[in-house]
Structure formats: structure tokens, C-alpha cells
């Protein structure tokens, strides 16, 4: 018994000592993690919370007083014809840009990959729009598509048709912007697909040939397409985000006229032109939610299919 009495207090002391050392280590750990955590808080979390706060008020930039109005901004958004038109326009734009921007890029990548000597030329040519400033390039597009001065309409007239005013006809504006959008994402997507294509083991294509996959279509379906799965998923997600964020071309070419607003442009008008900070914050949250839901859905849905 006396032996036990001697042992117990000493282990108890050791336990407290150990826990004190542990606590000290924990404090040090927190101190080291703090700068990163604070930065994250200051640049991402707090602005998002502030944004959420604004979205529940009728705050106008520079106003002295503001009022809490609950979800009224969100209710207003769904009754606002401009916002609904912007939503519809953005959807139409995305529906054109995503499949064409991905599909054409894959086609171009397959063609470029087969070239030996001219490959660098094609890579650079298709990648140029990615490096150029879209606002600057938009002015070139404006000239190209100009009803009286542009070469596109000159060609249309030469074929005996009436000139088309691409950037002023309401039904043509979004599709025209979408074509420019495709032109812009094509090169970037092509480079991603080229990287994906180089990652396909040569053995697999050869095995497919020996297995009787004679036509290129068979080899594409048996090897290339399934092996490009992860690349395709990445390209689809990034292209979707780019498409939903369309802004520069609208701001420069149509200025949202004749009902050609997109989500980001409508948001810009509310927040910066009309100084409706509260309403713009609500629109921003809606936009974020849309992108987030779409990206999560795409990732979960596609991820299961592309990783083996």
C-alpha cells in the first residue's frame, strides 16, 4: 500500500506536467497559424459577411442612414425585369459558350497534336486571344462586325445579302457576344486538352489498334475520350465560370443596350452607376450562389465518371 501511495502522486504530477507542455505547444501552434487565419478572415470571410449584411439593407453608397429591410432586395431581384433578362441572357450565353468552347477546343487540340513541325505555330495562334486584353480585342471585333465598315459585312454584301448589324439587333447580340466568348476561351482550353492528350500512355492506343480498333472514331471512343475525362471535367468547370462571368464584351460592345444585360453587367450598373449598394450586394450573393451550386453539381456529377 505504501508503495502505491508513493507511485500515484508522482504519476499525477507527470500527467499535469505533460498536459502543461501540451497546452504550451497548442498555444504556440495557434500563434503560428494566426497570421494565415487572420488574412483569410480579412480578405475572404469578413467581406463576404459584410456583403451579406449589405444585402439585407437599402444602403446606398454615401448615404448617411440606412434601414434593415430583410429579404426585400432578393424579392425585388426576382421581380426586376432587368435582372430576369440578365439571368436569361447569361444562361443563353453559357449554353452557347460551354459546349462550343469545350468541343471545338478538343477538336482543335486533336488536330494540332497530330502536327509535327507546325505545332508551335498553331499553339501560339490559338493561344493569342488568351494573352490579349479582351477590352482591346473587343474594339477589333467591333470594327470587324461594323455594319458599314467591317469586313464581315463586306463579305455578306459580296454574297448578295443585306448587311447585318450584329451588335444592335436584339436577337443577335447575345449569340454574337457568345462567338467572341468562344474565340477567347478556345486557346486556353486547347492547351489544357493538349496537356491531357500528352498524358495518355502510347501503349493504350497501340493496344487498341491491336484489339481491332481500326478507325480513329473507335480509338477516340475506346482510349482518348475516356482518358481525357479528368481534363474535360476541369475544362467544363472553368469554362462555365468564365461564361457566367461575361462582362468586358458587354461593357465595351453593347453597354447592355437593347436588353443585352448579363448578370455581371446588371450588377455593375446597380452597384457602380446607380450606387444601389444594398441591392447590388444581394445580386452578388445570388451570382455567387449560382456559380457555387453549378460548380459543386458539375464536380460531384462528373467526378464519379472521370476517375477510375
Amino acid at each position: 500500500m505504501s508503495a502505491l501511495d508513493l507511485v500515484l502522486p508522482s504519476t499525477g504530477a507527470a500527467a499535469t506536467r505533460r498536459s502543461r507542455a501540451e497546452r504550451r505547444m497548442m498555444r504556440r501552434g495557434l500563434v503560428f497559424a494566426a497570421p494565415a487565419a487572420l488574412l483569410l478572415l480579412a480578405t475572404y470571410i469578413v467581406p463576404l459577411l459584410v456583403l451579406g449584411g449589405f444585402s439585407l439593407t437599402d444602403y446606398k453608397l454615401g448615404a448617411v442612414s440606412t434601414r434593415f429591410i430583410g429579404l426585400e432586395n432578393f424579392v425585388q431581384a426576382f421581380h426586376d425585369p432587368v435582372f430576369r433578362r440578365a439571368l436569361a441572357n447569361t444562361m443563353l450565353y453559357a449554353v452557347i459558350v460551354i459546349p462550343c468552347g469545350v468541343g471545338l477546343a478538343l477538336g482543335v487540340a486533336l488536330l494540332v497534336q497530330g502536327r509535327r513541325r507546325s505545332r508551335p505555330f498553331w499553339e501560339i495562334a490559338y493561344f493569342l486571344p488568351v494573352t490579349a486584353t479582351l477590352v482591346a480585342m473587343a474594339t477589333v471585333w467591333q470594327f470587324l462586325l461594323h455594319p458599314s465598315l467591317g469586313p464581315v459585312n463586306a463579305a455578306i454584301r459580296a454574297l448578295g445579302y443585306a448587311p447585318v448589324s450584329f451588335l444592335a439587333t436584339p436577337s443577335l447580340m447575345i449569340p454574337t457576344l457568345a462567338v467572341i466568348g468562344i474565340w477567347q476561351v478556345l486557346g486556353f482550353n486547347m492547351v489544357l486538352f493538349l496537356a491531357g492528350l500528352t498524358g495518355i500512355p502510347k501503349d493504350l492506343n497501340e493496344a487498341a489498334r491491336l484489339d481491332g480498333a481500326k478507325s480513329p472514331i473507335d480509338r477516340f471512343l475506346t482510349v482518348t475520350w475516356p482518358m481525357l475525362g479528368p481534363t474535360t471535367m476541369f475544362v467544363v468547370v472553368t469554362t462555365s465560370i468564365t461564361a457566367f462571368k461575361v462582362f468586358e464584351t458587354v461593357a465595351v460592345l453593347t453597354k447592355g443596350g437593347s436588353g443585352s444585360e448579363t448578370l455581371l453587367y446588371a450588377l455593375y450598373l446597380e452597384g457602380f452607376e446607380y450606387s444601389e449598394t444594398g441591392y447590388a450586394a444581394a445580386l452578388t450573393l445570388l451570382f455567387l450562389a449560382l456559380i457555387l451550386i453549378l460548380s459543386i453539381w458539375q464536380t460531384l456529377h462528373l467526378d464519379r465518371k472521370v476517375h477510375y
Binding site: 497501340e206 487498341a208 491491336l210 471512343l221
Partner: protein, 382 residues
């Protein structure tokens, strides 16, 4: 399908000015297991890929079963190949992997399309045939429980079996194998060697097997073609290559531990001297000058009266013992002697031993590396 012969005539191939294959002639008999063996870069894989049709030869022709296929697409050659990487389609189950060669050949393109392919009518009988052929191939390689797994979920040995099943499911004219066992661990490799040899016996098909591992070539093959620098140095049974190497290159490559090579001199009368003495051998057609004497480790032995040597180290390999020796007072290379473990080395008076060799089994190679005839003189002193 009955096994087919493979005939290569005058095959030449160069990549960017460098000759990889020079004028290869090789007639592979129906049902034969032939190994192409050689160090890396000797052209053996290129030769296999030419047979498969994955490379086009610059010169020469390839015939399968007597029919010229030099210009025929790989998909129409009816040849199966097992790759070193196995090249399984990672997105398909084992069942789909094995079915692919049959689907490609028996189903029209429309029926092979994903999703909508199932809607093409009138192919139920073909689909059932394919399914049962896949089951049979899986049965033959004992991988039926794995049929619904993906390749990523399999071990190396299992993937190897799937690759073999995919090759044999369509009864090809010949099987080509490119270092199929080199990604497996030593124990599994020995096991798969046995299985491959067994598979060859069961199928009776023509096998062409590329390897850098002489053990694989020697243990499984009917004949071995030993290649070096784009040429076939010797074509023969494993025993022929071991017992009568046609050149120094062959003698060096075949055999573990490697053959002992002694520099010797042939004099004007054909007598051979080396290790500072007359070796009691003569080369009837040998030209005067330096030559090389090849002695297999098992043909060296301890004798009462021979070249004095010192034991450097002894390696125990279970049934055998390898003894590394140094000839005293000579600049000769160290030699390896192989003896049964139950034989005792004969220690000499001062820690040295006397070394002799089995003169009847020595190999003589001229200065150009070609094999020369060798015979014992009457008063052999070895």
C-alpha cells in the same frame, strides 16, 4: 485458330539515321515459343513491334501464315500483344477489357457506341457469344472473381492475367509479349514463367517473347534468338546457345554466373597457351595470334596439379557454391568456379589451390569473336 508461322525476311529499320535493325531474317514455326533476348537497345522490341505492325520496316517483309502482311494495318493482322505496362483500359471493368477485341471485330460501329449502342437490334446472339468467350478466357486464367473490378483495383499479377486473357480471348494467329514479367516481383515472376509456359503448351499457339532476362528466355522457349546491335547473333535452342555459343557475345550473355574468359595465344602450329603455360589444347583452324578461351564456372575444378590460385570468396547458393578465385602471379582476370555444395574445396599447402578445367567443354573464340574449333592434345597437362 490453328497456330501460324511468322516469317521475317531482310528486315531493316533505322531511326533518324541510326540503324536499329540490320537485315533480320527469322522464320518462326507454327506453335513455337521463340524468345528475342538481348540487352536494352539491341532492337528486340522494335522487331516485335514490326511483327505487330506498330512500326513499318524500312526494308524487308513480314508474313503471317505465309501471307505477306507488311502493308497490313495492325488491327487486321489478328495478332495479340501483351505490353510491359499491360495497357489495360483503366475506365473499363475487367470484363469489358477482355471483351474489347471481340466487340471491335464482331459488332458494327453503331453497336459499339456508348449508351445508344445497346439499342442496335439483332445482335443478342453475338453479344451472348462474346459474353461466354469472356467467361471462358477468365476461367482459363482463373480471374473470374475479378471480372467486375476495374484495373486500378487489381495487383500487378492480376493485371498481368487480365492482359493475357484479353490476348487469348480471340484466338489470335500469334501472341507477342514485350517484357511482360518485368514489372512483377521475383517470386511472382518465377510463378508466371511457369504459367506462361503452361499456357503455351495448352494453347499450342505461336508465342514471340521479348525479354532482357536470359533466365526467362532459357526456361520457357523452344528457341532463342539472341540479339545485339540490331543483328541476331545466334538462333537456337536454349541448350545450343549454352553449350555451343556461336560467338563471344553469345557466350558472354548466356549463363549465370557469367562465363570465365581467359586471354590466350595461338601459336603457328595451333597450340594454345595461357596462364603462362601450354594448356594442352589446339585449334586446328585457328590463326596465329591472340584469342579468348571461355570456361563455364561448372567446368572449372580443383585438381592435384594445375594453375596455382587463391580463393577470394565463397558464395553459398543452397545446392551450389560459387567460388571466386585469383590466379597467382598472373594478370589473368578473377575466375568463378561453381561446385556442388557437398563438395569440399581442396585447400593447398599455403592457402592456395590448384585449378584445372574440363578441356572437352572449353570454348575458343578468335580475335573477331567467332567460335573456333578446339581439341585436346594427347599429352594434356590440365
Amino acid at each position: 485458330m490453328t497456330p501460324q508461322s511468322l516469317d521475317l525476311v531482310g528486315i531493316g529499320k533505322s531511326f533518324g539515321g541510326a540503324d536499329v535493325l540490320e537485315n533480320i531474317d527469322l522464320a518462326i514455326r507454327p506453335g513455337e515459343f521463340l524468345s528475342l533476348v538481348g540487352a536494352s537497345g539491341c532492337g528486340k522490341s522494335t522487331l516485335l513491334r514490326i511483327i505487330a505492325g506498330l512500326e513499318t520496316p524500312d526494308r524487308g517483309s513480314v508474313a503471317i501464315g505465309g501471307q505477306d502482311v507488311t502493308e497490313v494495318d495492325p488491327s487486321d493482322r489478328n495478332i495479340a500483344m501483351v505490353f510491359q505496362s499491360y495497357a489495360l483500359y483503366p475506365h473499363m471493368s475487367v470484363r469489358q477489357n477482355i471483351a474489347t477485341p471481340l466487340r471491335m471485330r464482331r459488332l458494327p460501329l453503331a453497336a459499339r457506341l456508348p449508351a445508344i449502342g445497346r439499342l442496335v437490334p439483332g445482335l443478342e446472339a453475338t453479344r451472348r457469344e462474346i459474353a461466354s468467350a469472356v467467361e471462358d478466357a477468365a476461367e482459363a486464367l482463373q480471374i473470374r472473381p475479378l471480372l467486375d473490378r476495374k484495373p486500378a483495383q487489381l495487383s500487378g499479377g492480376q493485371r498481368q492475367r487480365v492482359a493475357l486473357a484479353r490476348a487469348l480471348v480471340r484466338a489470335p494467329a500469334a501472341f507477342l509479349m514485350d517484357e511482360p514479367l518485368s514489372n512483377l516481383d521475383a517470386k511472382l515472376r518465377a510463378h508466371m514463367r511457369e504459367e506462361l509456359a503452361g499456357l503455351h503448351r495448352r494453347l499450342g499457339a505461336t508465342f514471340v517473347y521479348v525479354t532482357h532476362d536470359q533466365t526467362e528466355a532459357m526456361t520457357m522457349s523452344d528457341r532463342v534468338a539472341l540479339m545485339e546491335a540490331g543483328r541476331i547473333l545466334q538462333l537456337g535452342t536454349p541448350a545450343e546457345l549454352y553449350e555451343r555459343p556461336a560467338s563471344l557475345g553469345v557466350a558472354r550473355f548466356i549463363g549465370t554466373p557469367a562465363i570465365n574468359l581467359l586471354p590466350v595465344e595461338i601459336d603457328g602450329t595451333g597450340r594454345i597457351s595461357g596462364l603462362g603455360r601450354d594448356l594442352g589444347l589446339e585449334a586446328p583452324q585457328g590463326k596465329r595470334g591472340p584469342a579468348t578461351l571461355g570456361l563455364r564456372p561448372e567446368d572449372l575444378r580443383f585438381v592435384a596439379n594445375g594453375s596455382p590460385a587463391r580463393i577470394l570468396r565463397t558464395e553459398h547458393h543452397g545446392a551450389d557454391r560459387y567460388v571466386t578465385l585469383e590466379i597467382l602471379d598472373r594478370s589473368a582476370p578473377t575466375l568463378t568456379l561453381r561446385q556442388r555444395a557437398d563438395e569440399e574445396p581442396i585447400p593447398g599447402a599455403d592457402g592456395t589451390v590448384a585449378l584445372g578445367f574440363h578441356a572437352g567443354r572449353a570454348h575458343l573464340f578468335g580475335a573477331d569473336g567467332a567460335r573456333l574449333a578446339l581439341r585436346e592434345r594427347r599429352q594434356a597437362a590440365a
